[in-house]
Subunit: 208 residues, 3 copies
């Protein structure tokens, strides 16, 4: 079972590293800059989580496979993604959504394994899921996706709640993970596809 | 006594969460985005402090009341603050100043309780006081208040020094806290009211 | 030997504090804002490194000399650097390059002393070397140097690899440090002088 979680974690790392590398390509960074941006996107959220929990040295220091997966992803991306006009415009948002789903569940799972409460597990899933993307967007001087009214943090929080509730009603770990990840992907991809958003909390537009 | 500190800490959390939620409202974020911005503003500075000191898991993981206070504040803000033209324009700066005063004192107090020196206590007060606001401003793509020439970091540093000096000359903890918080509020609110600033260190404007 | 490392560390701290103070001067910050920006530039990278490794309380909490060096540097900078037109335009980039060289080597050295692998040592050198500068640039709302196609992260990574390889082939610590720092300085200063850059990974410009 824990092998599956580990496998998912490495998949999420590769997906977020790809997301970071593609963002770096949009800003015309040099190869080592691509590695830096891919790395902070892929392991930034989990690093913040581990530093806050006190699980230090953080995960990627203890297990070199994460860095190796990132380097391999960046290398593949540099070699293969050379015809940007052949890339569907949704490649980056969809890669990002997949990473969000994987990392939210992994983060919540790790918090529960450490004996933390369900509420904190949802928060840790959120930090793991959105942390790396926020750092990526800050470094690229974009408004972080979390701040836009397209449903993003919402998807991660709902997914984290689905996961902890599924476990609470007695489902096994794999099924709970599957339910949570599917719910995150449906919410996030629907929001991208149909430009859905929750009603904004709006103090800018004057209403009488 | 420590109950008062705890009560002040929760008050500061609520005040900074409000400050974050109001900033989120100015950027038209969705409700869960409001929760994220309110949270990083309220617990960001203290989290950095605890991670640097090594007091992990950080305070809000050990005590769920902080998250509950933030959620309640955001909920109240979403429900009650619906008529922005009725909000005095100074609501956000004043809430921010109050949070700065409370958190500076709390941060310095926690450092002293851990046996750290007065100088480090001042730094920890500064990090606790301005950390969350810096992250909030970064996420909103505003120049952090700390960078503007309006007296901000100055207020926190002066307050931290007041606090450690008051304790050093033998005053009790409550009096020292009161003196420090009043001095921060006076400095910061005066700076806001009369647009005071210290002489800037200015390498941009050429002088002969 | 370790005295030399400590001396280099304090030199790097002063150099990066100067770099932060000069950046603050370009943004017309007040004296305490200058202290804040000089501090995050000088100890930001090392703080992230220590928090990730779990070496808490981080180095500057345990040893007050770092804060004292920063305060002295800022004071000297405020008093002495008052004629900006007399400052060569390359002062900031060159100070930054020197800090990058010193901190990369110090960061890699500390990782190796903790028994971490050569690959992680290179990463820790990179974080120590570029972390503070990234935070400085974020706070000043500049695109971090790491993101530009001028060779920056590259210099740190190459220097870290030089250092670990030099140690691996049996050179002593001082020689390895010297080789690594010289290689970083040559790469970085050449890149500044002749506007060198690696071929960018470019997904923005369409190519057919």
């Amino acid at each position: 079972m824990s092998q599956w979680i580990y496998f998912f974690d490495l998949c999420g790392t590769a997906v977020f590293a790809l997301s970071g590398a593609l963002a770096a390509g949009k800003h015309r960074m040099d190869p080592f800059g691509v590695i830096v941006l891919a790395s902070v996107t892929a392991i930034g959220g989990g690093s913040i989580r581990d530093a806050l929990i006190g699980a230090t040295p953080v995960f990627w220091i203890r297990d070199p496979n994460y860095i190796i997966v990132i380097l391999a992803t960046v290398l593949a991306c540099l070699v293969l993604v050379r015809k940007p006009h052949k890339l569907p415009t949704l490649t980056l948002p969809v890669a990002d959504a997949l990473g969000l789903a994987l990392f939210t569940v992994i983060g919540a799972e790790k918090a529960l394994l450490m004996g933390l409460s369900g509420m904190i597990a949802v928060v840790m899933g959120l930090i793991t899921g959105v942390g790396g993307g926020i750092i990526r967007d800050l470094l690229c001087r974009q408004i972080p996706m979390v701040l836009r009214t397209e449903i993003y943090a919402t998807a991660s929080i709902v997914g984290g709640i689905c996961y902890t509730l599924s476990l609470a009603v007695g489902m096994d770990s794999m099924t709970s993970m599957f339910i949570a990840m599917i719910s995150i992907l449906i919410i996030r991809l629907s929001a991208i596809r149909w430009h859905l958003s929750l009603p904004a909390f709006d103090l800018k537009t004057k209403r009488i």
